[in-house]
């Protein structure tokens, strides 16, 4: 056991943790009162250091029976998470005044970083124990971020709901893991895969996987475990909601894909039409179908834009899970790619929604009226984000969705009708539905007249910059998807 080796492999995590502790210290010393800028600077510096540690750190390694795993894939996703968190941190500080978080900027930032730490750990492990603890860390910090901004009223209720759902989901996850351990005698995903390949499957294993799926379903807000999402997205402070919808979800899909494909690829089963076989694929297929239908149809009826984004997020979970059912290298690539661009688009959309909320006091559809004239930059970014989510070319969303559905259809023997055609057909239909509600928002933004008494939507340079960066990423990746796809492909080759 070499501690130095261990430390060298978790330098990014250590950087984030130390920064969070420094921020807590600053909070105790009253640092957030005078200078939100100082807090922002420390946060950004810490994230930068962590990013540097990811880039220049060890290229590969597997320590302590898969507890700490460093390879191209984990490094890539750690970098993505750090970037998304940096964006969220900039949103947290509109203009250096601790807007919306009542002078608790330091604690708020610290919680953001600790949530990030949990996600980093989750991404960088192949061990169920560490995976669970990491998820718990991220969840706990997120519950607090949701409740932090306002002392009473709806956020507290939403946070409480989030907390209850999260606790039950965590219990399911842990219960499931314990059955998996009981059936295979290991909590290391690779060992589990080996054991499963070599031995007949006991009935308690599928039970364990099913219970764990409940927990994962909560994390990625898949129907029927989505009930917390609309309230939380609507009531949480916009940056927190943005973080939940971006970084947290990216990590969630990453780990779902990794656990299912890497650990339980053997017991996949099949969700092909007419050829159902026991395994996790049919379960995931059901989750995917339900999420797509419920999420997209419910989004049609929403008046609050953040709530609409929540339901659209649930629908997107369905799209992403659709590809996961295929469970081959191509599918994993598509899942990971799409989760990243979904994260970027969500962050941008929540950023703009937050601006509108601050300027007009609410985020109903009417409140977006005339945004195209009062704040063209924000409106443009919102348009880019929503159209990308809807999957219109040339934005990257189109390419991502195309990849998802192609991957879902790629399974099975060539020449026959793809077994997952039914699911993909449903996905296409729901994708068309989603276009409608995204356009409803954009119609308000660009074609409705601004209310006469509308205060000018001013936003700070930092928040706008993040929005603009997100928007340009969406366009750039739409034109050159290989910028992300190629590293992803290379990383996945190492994995499979």
């Amino acid at each position: 056991m070499n501690y130095l080796e261990l430390i060298s492999h978790v330098l990014p995590e250590i950087a984030v943790l130390v920064t969070a502790l420094v921020l807590i210290g600053m909070g105790c010393a009253g640092g957030s009162r005078g200078g939100g800028k100082a807090v922002l600077a420390v946060t950004a510096a810490g994230l930068g250091l962590a990013l540097a540690a990811v880039v220049f750190g060890p290229e590969s390694g597997r320590l302590l029976e898969g507890m700490i795993v460093v390879d191209a894939l984990t490094r890539l996703f750690k970098a993505v998470l750090l970037a998304l968190t940096l964006g969220t941190a900039l949103f947290l500080f509109p203009g250096g005044e601790a807007g919306g978080n009542e002078g608790r900027g330091a604690e708020n930032s610290a919680l953001l970083l600790l949530a990030l730490l949990g996600l980093l750990v989750v991404v960088g492990t192949e061990n169920l124990l560490l995976l669970f603890v990491g998820l718990e860390l991220a969840s706990l910090a997120l519950y607090l971020m949701v409740v932090f901004a306002a002392p009473a009223g709806r956020p507290a209720e939403a946070a409480l709901r989030y907390f209850f759902f999260g606790s039950v989901a965590a219990a399911f996850l842990l219960f499931g893991f314990s059955f998996i351990y009981g059936a295979t005698g290991s909590i290391d995903l690779r060992v589990i895969a080996k054991v499963l390949a070599a031995h007949p499957v006991e009935p308690i294993l599928p039970l364990g996987v099913g219970l764990a799926l409940v927990g994962f379903g909560f994390k990625v807000a898949a129907v029927p475990f989505h009930l917390w999402a609309p309230d939380v997205y609507q009531s949480a402070p916009a940056p927190a909601a943005g973080f939940i919808a971006s970084a947290s979800k990216v990590a969630g899909f990453f780990i779902v894909a990794k656990v299912l494909v890497l650990g339980f690829g053997v017991v996949e089963g099949s969700a092909d039409w007419g050829a159902f076989a026991m395994g996790w694929a049919p379960l995931v297929a059901v989750l995917a179908a339900l999420s797509m239908v419920v999420g997209n149809l419910a989004a049609l009826a929403q008046q609050s834009v953040r709530r609409l984004l929540a339901y659209s997020g649930i629908g997107h979970s369905g799209f992403i899970l659709t590809a996961l059912v295929a469970a081959n290298a191509e599918a994993v690539r598509a899942v990971l790619f799409y989760s990243v661009i979904y994260g970027v688009a969500s962050l941008a959309a929540f950023g703009v929604a937050g601006c509108v909320l601050r300027a007009r006091g609410a985020d109903r559809l009417e409140d977006f009226a005339g945004l195209g004239r009062t704040a063209p930059a924000a409106a443009g970014v919102l348009a880019l984000a929503l159209l990308s989510l809807a999957g219109l070319p040339p934005l990257v969303g189109f390419f991502g969705k195309f990849q998802l559905f192609a991957a879902a259809l790629s399974g099975g023997t060539p020449g026959t009708v793809p077994g997952l055609l039914w699911l993909v057909a449903l996905a296409l239909l729901m994708s068309a539905v989603s276009l409608y509600y995204y356009l409803r928002v954009l119609k308000q933004v660009f074609f409705a007249p601004a209310p006469a008494d509308a205060a000018p939507t001013r936003d700070t340079s930092a928040g706008t910059a993040v929005c603009l960066v997100c928007g340009s990423v969406l366009v750039l990746l739409g034109l050159f998807p290989s910028l992300v796809l190629q590293p992803l492909q290379r990383a996945l080759v190492q994995l499979f």
């Binding site: 807590i24 718990e136 910090a141």
Partner: protein, 176 residues
């Protein structure tokens, strides 16, 4: 079936634990629920002791019964309301809800039982000698293989602490 004294003890502890656990869900008054919850933890500790894991058993008592459950009771006492226990489960569908809950619980339990009973190879040989968990081995494991989760749990507790303290402070703000 021949029950040894040890087997009888196991059943006694199991019944205690499960009974207390059920009571937690069924008892109306929060204080009583928390108290039987503590009893449930005591039962879990007894089961650990029965398994020969003395260290775990006593830690279970020390941490869960002596600290966690006490805190829960403490918080409930501090927030106690005069009408505690007098609330009625309103709504027209109360009976339906109970039935639904029971149905889900029974289905889950059925699935669990079927899966566990169906997993034949789980009945491995039970060693004659009770296993003894060496404290030294436990300690070595904690500073070697289990370092990352151990530290991370510490971070989780830090988050809980920061959150608790800050939330408690928010309440005071209006006075200031």
């Amino acid at each position: 079936m021949n029950l040894t004294a040890s087997g009888l003890l196991f059943f006694a502890f199991a019944v205690l634990t499960l009974g207390a656990g059920t009571a937690v869900a069924l008892v109306r008054e929060p204080v009583r629920a928390a108290l039987v919850g503590a009893l449930c933890f005591v039962g879990v500790g007894l089961l650990y002791l029965w398994l020969g894991a003395e260290f775990l058993g006593f830690i279970q008592w020390l941490v869960y019964v002596g600290a966690v459950a006490v805190l829960i009771v403490f918080v409930i006492l501090l927030t106690r309301r005069e009408d505690a226990g007098g609330e009625t489960e309103g709504g027209r569908f109360a009976g339906l809800r109970v039935l639904g809950g029971l149905g889900v619980a029974l289905a889950l339990f059925g699935a669990l039982a079927a899966a566990v009973l169906g997993s034949g190879s789980l009945y491995r040989e039970v060693p004659e000698e009770p296993m003894v968990l060496e404290i030294a081995a436990l300690g070595r494991e904690l500073v070697a293989g289990a370092v990352p989760p151990l530290i991370l749990v510490g971070v989780v507790l830090t988050v809980a602490l920061v959150g608790g303290v800050t939330l408690a402070l928010v309440e005071r703000k209006p006075d200031a």
